[in-house]
């Protein structure tokens, strides 16, 4: 126990002596937490509309007005021909072209039907899909209005009609920040915790100071614990500052309890730091450990469901996410913060993360050999 105390003292001294690192540790994540959620807004709005109106009728003007006033579309450009409209799409000026052909109005009256052409820049599939759906909906509505106007309406509606009422639970204002801030916080804590841990032992190897530890009567587990505890405390501190920012700046008050978050975070950090230490027992140079830990963190982050939903991934990729501790924490964080889930709701995730913690740390202790090669 006394040994551990000295080890902790040594580690803490080492961390706090490097002012540059402390600055990076605290200021960078905070700045990112303040800026990133503003950038991470995925709402589909502001679809830039280009119109090719060859009909020039009163009807075409009314239709364009209606589309623009729906709020989803921003009229960017009137082009005289479809080819010129396409130019605007090529240069990213517009996302969607509506072409109203010549004699559209006349055809509609004389032949009872007429066709509108829509072309969408589909590189972003989701934006294209929704944009296409929105404009079709608006045109359908307009079509109904035209009928109501031009035909004597029957006294009652003879067709069966299904009303769709949709409600958005847990985030009725559809605020994207509420969704992103908890996830980004998890990512920042993970990035800092694991990469620092990964670097630490390798640094001692590179500096040669590990020899001194190897010849002193320190048990393996004491050594790993001595590395683990300071970083654990640091990461919890960063998490706390992050939660305060989430509350004060973004007004995110968790629906569940802070207790649940900290219980999970505590176990989670043991797991993620253990992973970092494990990597560092394998690497010989800091460059190696950095590249590998960075690589793993990137995979963990991008495959965590933070940016793109996990269930959209192919099945094999979903299997990979089962082995991704970050995915569990992000899921839990969002569940607790937004839906008020309690410990009883998240116990499967807790068990999983405990497994990770035991696995990574156990392996790290086994693999740390006092005889360095």
């Amino acid at each position: 126990m006394r040994m551990l105390k000295f080890l902790l003292q040594k580690e803490l001294l080492q961390i706090f002596r490097d002012a540059g690192i402390i600055r990076i540790l605290f200021i960078m994540p905070m700045v990112q937490l303040l800026i990133l959620p503003l950038a991470a807004d995925y709402e589909i709005k502001n679809i830039n509309l280009g119109v090719v109106d060859q009909d020039h009728s009163e009807y075409s003007r009314k239709l364009v007005n209606k589309i623009v006033s729906s709020g989803y579309f921003k009229l960017k450009e009137y082009s005289p021909s479809f080819n010129q409209g396409l130019k605007a799409i090529e240069s990213d000026k517009t996302d969607l072209i509506l072409e109203i052909p010549t004699h559209f109005d006349r055809d509609l009256v004389n032949e009872n039907k007429a066709t509108l052409f829509v072309a969408v820049d589909a590189i972003n599939g989701v934006k294209a899909g929704l944009g296409g759906a929105y404009i079709q909906q608006i045109i359908q509505d307009d079509n109904q209005d035209v009928r109501d106007e031009w035909i004597q309406a029957p006294r009652y509606n003879p067709q069966p009609n299904i009303d769709i009422v949709s409600s958005d639970w847990y985030n009725p204002n559809m605020n994207y920040k509420v969704f992103m801030v908890p996830g980004i916080l998890v990512m920042l804590v993970t990035m800092i915790g694991s990469s620092f841990a990964a670097n630490n032992i390798v640094r001692e190897k590179e500096m040669g100071t590990i020899e001194q530890i190897n010849v002193s009567p320190i048990q393996k587990y004491q050594f790993i614990l001595g590395k683990l505890i300071p970083f654990w405390l640091l990461a919890i501190a960063i998490l706390t500052v992050g939660l305060i920012i989430a509350r004060l700046v973004y007004g995110i008050v968790p629906m569940g309890s802070y207790f649940t978050i900290y219980v999970f975070a505590g176990i989670y950090l043991i797991a993620i730091l253990g992973l970092g230490l494990l990597l560092s027992t394998y690497a010989q140079t800091q460059q190696q450990s950095m590249l590998v830990s960075f690589f793993i963190i990137m995979i963990f982050n991008l495959m965590s469901g933070l940016y793109t939903p996990i269930e959209s991934m192919p099945v094999w990729a979903q299997w990979i996410t089962i082995f991704n501790p970050v995915a569990y924490f992000i899921e839990v964080m969002r569940m607790v913060m937004l839906k008020g889930s309690g410990l009883s709701d998240i116990w499967p995730q807790i068990v999983a993360i405990m497994g990770f913690a035991a696995f990574f740390n156990g392996w790290a202790i086994l693999n740390y050999s006092k005889r360095s090669v």
């Binding site: 990133l36 991470a40 031009w150 793109t308 889930s341």
Partner: protein
């Protein structure tokens, strides 16, 4: 020039000798492209839904079946009360619940009017929105099928054409973005760490007293990495065409040239970082914390730039990968020529010279 080549050779030996690192440098981008190319997509599909059917009649059954058959939804359970819905949401098991009221079919056929409630888990607003609109389309289709026989007057048809990506595949937007991300990070980290390592090891002094101009030494150190990066680009392009099914519509030569330019930009960012960093740890943190997230967010492939507040849109302009993303999209997916990307090319070239200029100006000949 001869001396310069000798220095290039030294660095090449450094890289070649450390096979483990070289292996990581070549494999990392490959694994990432495959992984993200397949896995990163914002298409919404296979979302778990629950159904709360209080009517249990032919109509609700038919609608439920339609929804279960759609590739967007995955029917996981039937629930029997609103409390049940809330509990299932809290466990994170479903994304949406569909509620049919009692006497659904009776109301629909007799009073011509019935209601369906869609409850979405809007903690992810985008998915919620998309699911609601997909479910509405299915329900509307069902409604249309009920009054199929009527021929409506004054019908406006809409023909929608999806340009460049008719199947609306997520990969078309994501692969160029992942290319920008991976190249940027690998190049920056490689250069900055390899230069700072010399500083940390004390071998920088040996290099500095050699007859070569100090900054040429730095350039010589990055040249081998340029070749490693070119190899990476070739791998990435092969993978995207043959594994991810994202074709290169435009000129391959132009794409390669632009990629090389972007690589040089990234290497210059690495050189700049190595100027300021004293330890490998600091260099890596600058490269990782400082570049990973901005590159991810401001390239515009994950989150649309036009949604961001104006100051951030301005910041996005100084992120090189934003411009490279536009270039790759235009050449690779839209198949446009140089006339569509000359502005972006000039910007990247300008950034590179600015970065190198600052690095030369700030370069310290004497170590502390």
């Amino acid at each position: 020039m001869k001396q310069f080549l000798i220095f290039v050779k030294i660095e090449w030996f450094h890289i070649w000798r450390d096979r483990r690192t070289l292996f990581i440098l070549i494999c990392m981008p490959i694994v990432q492209i495959i992984l993200y190319g397949f896995a990163l997509t914002n298409e919404v599909k296979n979302s778990n839904v629950a159904i709360f059917d209080q009517s249990r009649d032919v109509s609700t059954m038919q609608i439920s079946n339609e929804i279960a058959a759609s590739r967007y939804f995955n029917l996981v359970k039937n629930v029997y009360s609103y409390n049940d819905i809330a509990a299932t949401f809290r466990k994170g098991k479903i994304r949406m619940a569909i509620v049919f009221p009692q006497n659904f079919r009776y109301d629909l056929l007799h009073s011509n009017h019935a209601q369906i409630q869609l409850i979405a888990d809007a903690s992810d607003p985008n998915t919620a929105n998309t699911l609601t609109s997909y479910a509405s389309v299915i329900i509307n289709d069902y409604q249309q099928s009920l009054n199929q026989n009527d021929d409506l007057p004054y019908t406006i048809n809409t023909q929608v054409r999806m340009l460049y990506n008719p199947e609306l595949k997520g990969a078309y937007g994501f692969v160029p973005g992942v290319m920008a991300l991976v190249l940027m990070l690998v190049c920056t980290m490689m250069t900055s760490i390899s230069i700072v390592k010399e500083k940390e090891m004390g071998t920088m002094e040996v290099l500095l007293v050699s007859p070569l101009k100090p900054f040429s030494i730095v350039i010589a150190k990055t040249v081998p990495y340029l070749f490693v990066s070119l190899l990476n680009i070739i791998c990435i392009l092969l993978l995207s065409v043959y594994v991810l099914d994202v074709p290169i519509v435009g000129s391959i030569l132009l794409l390669m040239l632009e990629s090389t330019l972007f690589t040089v930009t990234s290497l210059s960012v690495g050189i700049l970082i190595s100027n300021f960093a004293e330890t490998q740890q600091t260099a890596m943190f600058a490269a990782m914390m400082g570049l990973f997230l901005p590159t991810l967010l401001f390239s515009g492939f994950l989150f649309p730039l036009e949604n961001m507040p104006v100051p951030l849109q301005v910041i996005a302009n100084i992120v090189p990968s934003k411009w490279y993303y536009i270039i790759v999209k235009n050449i690779m997916i839209k198949g446009l020529g140089f006339e569509s990307v000359w502005r972006e090319t000039i910007i990247l070239a300008g950034m590179t010279s600015a970065l190198l200029g600052v690095s030369i100006y700030k370069f310290k000949i004497r170590l502390a």
